[in-house]
Symmetry: C2
Subunit: 199 residues, 2 copies
Amino acid sequence: MITEPDSRQRIIASARDLIYSRSYADVGVAEICEQAAVKKGSFYHFFPSKQELSLAVIDDMRTLMEDQILIPAFARDIPPLQRLQRFVDNLYEFQRGTAGRLLGCPFGNLALEMATSDESIRRKLAEVFAGIQARFEHVLDEALSAGEIESSIDRPATAQAMLAYFEGVLMMAKTANDPEIIRKLASAFIQIRIPRMAG
Amino acid sequence: MITEPDSRQRIIASARDLIYSRSYADVGVAEICEQAAVKKGSFYHFFPSKQELSLAVIDDMRTLMEDQILIPAFARDIPPLQRLQRFVDNLYEFQRGTAGRLLGCPFGNLALEMATSDESIRRKLAEVFAGIQARFEHVLDEALSAGEIESSIDRPATAQAMLAYFEGVLMMAKTANDPEIIRKLASAFIQIRIPRMAG
DNA sequence: CCGGGCCTTTACCGACCGGTCTATTTTTAC
DNA sequence: GTAAAAATAGACCGGTCGGTAAAGGCCCGG
């Protein structure tokens, strides 16, 4: 049971956890309210619709991921490429710790379920991905300055490829329900390179 | 409107197209029946439940993918690694041609939506992925024989990494609704390598 | 011409869906 | 103290969900 003080945040947290562990469509408003210990009337006092709630949930997922994964992993206490390694290490630990069921990426899950059905959710998730990609790209910039990578690579494209790869790895791990796949496939993550286009 | 002769196959084809273009939960039995020009009674004559239908749909998707993508791409008329390149080229063309909306991978879509909710679907999709991975692995074997790759790589793991990568690429392309992402990120696909473990 | 599968048709079911409404309680501001 | 505003409660809505039941038509071997 969620125990956060104010109802609005409790609704978001409940919806976040339920949707992440199952899917958007499989979780109903009634169930969200029940887990948040809130009546339906309160729900619709704070959110005009389930879809609007889901946009707030994505925001909440995003700050959670930033604070708990991205910021710690990308701290500047170690060289750039080692930060990427730390990122996948942290991800592995997190995915291993979700109660028997490997849940994958909350954004990837929502993206494949909703992207073709709800345009505003699709756009929001595209922004989240762009934000993660920007962080990867920043690390690549610093890796270039540190002489860890060559200047011939297309850094934005490489950052996007890295993001794509670990999303795919999480999909494989989730489908097999086996976190060890993350470790097995991790080595290719920091090796991915997209060269700059010739023309 | 689906026009295949027998009702059972028409139901499967309708469900396949509807689920692929939206999601499992967003498509109801009534809508499937309508598009297949079949009454609900007939539906439940052929399938005991929507979930059982979805298992048949996955089988249908699989043979479709085999016939239209894998078999043509992996024909032995060109060297092994070039077949992988042809695979992504074909994939790009296919994803570009789906009526304005980029739909991604039908198995990846279902996997992220259903893997944590329905164990038998999760298992079936894991088998599909294993089948694709086996084909990649076979190509890598032939690439090794042809001297195109080194023997130090872990071929099963590399095949799985390739699968993960293109699933991730399709996720990025679907979320951005932009097929050009597939081309932009394609170069890393055949470059991915997982080295054999030291111990 | 008959009987029996196979398939189809149609009407129907209870449960649950997202969402609304109105009244009431609690909090805030002056 | 009081009134407005914010929040809560809970009954209620039409629609749709997956699924069922029973009867009727079709085609077949005999």
